[in-house]
Amino acid sequence: MADITETRVTATPVARPRKRIRWDHVADHAILIAGALLMLVPVYMVFATSSWDAITVHREGMQFGFSDQLGTNYDAALFEYGGFTDSVNGVTMLANSLILGLGFAIGKIVVGMMAAYAIVYFRLKFATLAFWMIFTTLLLPLEVRILPSYEIITSITVFGLYENGMGNSYAGLIIPLIASATATFFFRQFFLSVPEELIEAARIDGAGPVKFFIDILVPLSRTMIAAMFIIMFVFGWNQYLWPTLITTDESLFTLVRGIRQIVQSYADGSETPDYGQAAALAIIAMTPPVLIVVFFQSWFVKGLTESDK
């Protein structure tokens, strides 16, 4: 024993490696830094530009430095009513975007989980056929079927609600986007990986289908739900084409549309577009998705480190 310890002690100084610059590491870092800059510099430029007045930006383009219009631009972007009808400001659009993002993400998760639950856990006739039919909708995103979808949504009435179809309503904005298979597919794969014995133990413990879903399956899926929520919220938030088509009422405009609306006035030739304000709105539009990702990321990590399986 003593011998071994002694050799170890003497061996230590010899074993210490000399610090050398690893050129492959330098190259790795250079690539990573370049990539990061490519992503971040445009965001910084938008932020810097949002502190300038419209005339300067119009004359000299995007800015690197800061000016004194920061407060004015953000104030205008958020609180100044605009549009043809003067019925919409930044806050309204922010709220609309939130409703769209949340409604879409939550709706999609709820529908997806319940559909997957039915497919995986119940002995249905044609369950496989149903699954593959749902699955093929992955090949048909809203953009492909946008005209028929528009046709249906603007003409549909539900139990006397929406007398003039679902156009210009939150329901019309959100529901057609929910109809696709992504969430169903991911939850199905996840449910299939839940061990059979867990269901059997729950059955013996007297948990019926609803209790099993709420008490066991939903808590088990929480990391999955968080992941889906991030992806779906950002996807819903960034929707442009469908909201443009289905909402003509300005009080239902989302932020992404609002930005366009500001720049649009240039195309109309009516006045100098308010570039500073548009940049401010762009920054405002970026913030909630970033916050969602940051917030849910800590959930992700928690879910992973507290791994239960």
Binding site: P195, E197, A201, R203, I204, D205, R222, E306, D308, K309
Partner: protein, 350 residues
């Protein structure tokens, strides 16, 4: 507390495979009955039909005096312990144990009291707030036991509950489960493929092979009077030696011409199987049988001599203090050492 009766219970899976031939038996109230057999013989199928997790193709299962064929698992008043524990990963130990009671609508205080009582019985008190992922395999299995106990069921069902544990823990848990079951006096069905587990734990053993019951009996009966060559070779370690022999003229002769003593053949003639347990023979200079030792296997408490008798594989177990060497030796039989089986069916004769 309840007895369990299976009446001509049969199982055919939807794919047409008959997993269990019609089987009939009764487990008296308070007994621990072990279902043992090689993997795929239908043990789990039988247990799961009693639990209600699998449809019964034909026949009747009764728990107590109630036919349970059409009763939901939750209402059969049973509790089941699974091989991979099947604990709810997102619930604490306490909530895992109390979940079934909560679903029955018991009030919180009462649940907490029952959980605490069970936890004390199983030495789990300090782990009540932990998640299953923060426990060792043995502790998890205890939690699964606790979940079964708090329900105060009529019947415990165990499906290979110790197979995921290491050998030492397995021995310890075996004793714990046995002691607990005795103490609670609850009827239990216990599935295992391990004959040692079956022998040590059971009040009664049911040996299954290929979907049919080979023998039902106490561990002693099964060991002393195996009903078939299958039971003879499956139960007992090292397994019983089975030799091909000829019966005729009122005696049994091995291929080399040696006569097997103690073998009364009851008029049976022709090919026959002779079964002799390795521990039922001893080396002796005046022995009746000759044996050629090839290999000696040291097991600590005893040593096994593997070799040939009348040209067929044969093993002998001798105590560790008895010297042994390879080569020719003679063996003497202890009392009642010879079992005779019919050569075609493997059924016990006499």
């Amino acid at each position: 507390m309840a007895q369990v009766t299976l009446n001509a219970v049969r199982k055919v899976y939807p794919n047409g495979a008959e997993a269990l031939e019609p089987s009939t038996f009764t487990i008296p109230d308070g007994e621990l009955c072990v279902l043992v057999g090689p993997s795929g013989c239908g043990k789990s199928t039988m247990l799961r039909m009693v639990a209600g997790l699998e449809d019964i193709t034909e026949g009747e299962v009764s728990i107590g005096d109630r036919v349970v064929n059409d009763i939901d698992p939750a209402d059969r008043n049973i509790a089941m312990v699974f091989q991979n524990y099947a604990l709810y990963p997102h619930m604490t130990v306490a909530r895992n144990m109390g979940y079934g009671l909560k679903n029955r609508g018991m009030d919180r205080g009462q649940i907490a009291a029952k959980v605490r009582e069970a936890a004390e019985m199983l030495n789990l008190t300090e782990f009540l707030d932990r998640r299953p992922s923060q426990l060792s395999g043995g502790q998890r299995q205890r939690v699964a036991m606790g979940r079964a106990i708090v329900r105060e069921p009529d019947l415990f069902l165990f499906d290979e509950p110790l197979s995921n544990l290491d050998a030492k823990l397995r021995n310890q848990m075996r004793i714990e489960i046995r002691a607990l079951q005795r103490r609670l006096g609850t009827t239990a069905m216990y599935v295992t493929h391990d004959q040692v587990e079956a022998m040590t734990m059971a009040d009664r053993i049911i040996v299954l092979s290929n979907g049919h019951i080979e023998q039902i009996g106490t561990p002693n009966e099964i060991y002393e009077h195996p009903a078939s060559t299958f039971v003879a070779s499956f139960m007992g370690a090292p397994p019983m030696n089975l030799l091909d022999a000829e019966a005729g003229q009122g005696r049994v002769t091995l291929p080399g011409g040696e006569v097997v003593p103690q073998a009364g053949v009851n008029g049976h003639t022709g090919a026959i199987k002779v079964g002799i347990r390795p521990e039922d023979v001893a080396p002796s200079a005046q022995g009746d049988l000759s044996f050629n030792v090839d290999i000696i296997e040291e097991l600590g408490a005893q040593r096994l001599l593997h070799g040939k008798m009348a040209g067929q594989d044969f093993s002998v177990a001798v105590p560790k203090d008895q010297e042994a060497a390879t080569g020719e030796m003679r063996l003497a039989l202890k009392a009642n050492a010879v079992h005779l089986f019919d050569a075609d069916q493997g059924r016990r004769l006499g």
